[in-house]
Each structure stands twice: as structure tokens, then as C-alpha cells.
Amino acid sequence: MNWLTTITFNHYLILAMLLFSLGIVGVMLRKNGLIVFMSIELMLNAVNLVFITFAAMHGNETGHVMVFFIMTVAAAEAAVGLAIFVALFRNKETVYVDEAADLKR
């Protein structure tokens, strides 16, 4: 039971991978566009965890700077994406992604 008591970097990588795949499943399976969007945030967060893990592994702070940048881009993405959902709801009274497939012929 050594793996239970000694935490290596592999533990953090496996946790990040679990969170990332849960995010993928959320994007694939849910219809509610807002929850799809939150799943994308979850995937970004898992990638942040990988960056921080490798920063600690190599003793290099560039990973922290990358996480800072990813957070800023996520904030910008959230602002624009939520504005799109507000506009979508105003026009079609729905946030379900499969009811908004207007570009499909």
C-alpha cells in the first residue's frame, strides 16, 4: 500500500486525467449548453493542474505563468460565451444545444 501513503507526481497527473475525461463526457452527453460550457472550464482546470505539477517536478515557474494566462483566456471566453447564450435565449427561448442547430441543413 505504498501508493496510498507516498504521493508522487503521477498521482497528480492521474487526477488531472480523470477530471479531464469527466469534462469530455460532460461535453459529449449533456444537452444544456451552460453545462457543456462548465465542462469545458473543468477541462481547462485539469490542464492547469498538469502545468502546476510539471512546474513543481522541474523546479521551474514558467508553468505558473502559463496557468495565469490560461485563467485570463478562460475569463474572456466565459464572458463572450455567456453573452452568446443570453442572446440565444432571447431569440429562441432555449439553451439546449441541439435545439439551436440552425446552421445544419
Partner: protein
């Protein structure tokens, strides 16, 4: 001690992610995502990334998720039946991706890990990360401010006009 803290926050993070995907009510989904983000912030502290952990709680769990909850409550989404897509192809694709990631996980478990390097006490502090941000990464940093401005203008324009 580190093992105990790691397991508590890792298990809570996975539970929060699962609740995010499989909960009917979008507000509860948002709250469980906040739990996951907070738990990952705690894991950042374990990895000597104090500055990023504080940013995670303030910016991610604070500002961005408040925006999400504002929009969910403004749209006043009713409690729905669990809206899963009834598409066999999508489910098959999800299963294949999960399988591939499982194989990857087995590979990671078998891999050798580097020993923990000796990090000095200032690793990941505001001074060190800030110095890196304002010297080596100054140009991307300034470009990000332009990106944020564009995002603000774009969000206002998209949400304001009736198409």
C-alpha cells in the same frame, strides 16, 4: 500528512466533477464545479504554487463562477429531466475516449516518476512569478489585456443587440 490532504481534496474534486455532469439542476452543477475548483486550488498549495492557488479561488471560483450563476439565474432555467443526448454515436465516441484515457492512465501508473526536487521556500511566490511575468513574458501579458478589452466589447455587443 501530505497523503491525507491529497486524498481528501482529490476525492472531493472528482465527486464535484461527477455531480457537475450528472446533476439535473444547473445551479447545483455550478456549485459543485466551485467545489472542484476550490479542491484543485488546495492541491496547487501542496505543489508549492501559492500565488496561483489564490488566483484560482479569487478569479475562477469567485468571479467566473459568479458570472455563470448570474446567467443561470437570469435565464431562470427550470429543473429539467436529465438532458442527455440520445445519440448512440456520441455515446460510442465517449466510450472510446474513456477507454483510450484509461490505457493512458495505466501507462502513467507504470512510468517512473522524477524524485521531488528541493524547492526553496520562495518557489511560486508572488514576487517570483510576478518578476517572470513582467520581464520574460511582458509581451504576452500586454497582449492579454488587449484580449480582455476585446472580450468586454464583444460580450456587450453580443448581449445587447436583438438579432
Amino acid at each position: 500528512m501530505e497523503a491525507f490532504v491529497f486524498w481528501v481534496f482529490a476525492i472531493l474534486a472528482v465527486i464535484g466533477a461527477g455531480l457537475l455532469i450528472f446533476h439535473k439542476n444547473p445551479v447545483n452543477s455550478a456549485l459543485s464545479l466551485i467545489m472542484t475548483l476550490f479542491c484543485t486550488a488546495s492541491l496547487f498549495v501542496l505543489l508549492h504554487a501559492g500565488f496561483v492557488a489564490v488566483l484560482q479561488v479569487l478569479v475562477y471560483a469567485g468571479a467566473i463562477m459568479v458570472l455563470f450563476i448570474f446567467v443561470i439565474m437570469m435565464l431562470n432555467l427550470q429543473r429539467e429531466s436529465l438532458g442527455l443526448r440520445r445519440n448512440a454515436f456520441k455515446k460510442a465516441l465517449a466510450a472510446i475516449i474513456a477507454l483510450a484515457l484509461g490505457v493512458k492512465m495505466a501507462l502513467i501508473m507504470g512510468a517512473q516518476t522524477l524524485p521531488r526536487p528541493e524547492l526553496n521556500a520562495w518557489f511560486g511566490s508572488v514576487e517570483r512569478v510576478g518578476a517572470l511575468l513582467f520581464t520574460e513574458y511582458l509581451l504576452p501579458f500586454e497582449a492579454l489585456s488587449v484580449l480582455l478589452l476585446a472580450a468586454i466589447v464583444g460580450a456587450v455587443m453580443v448581449a445587447k443587440t436583438r438579432v
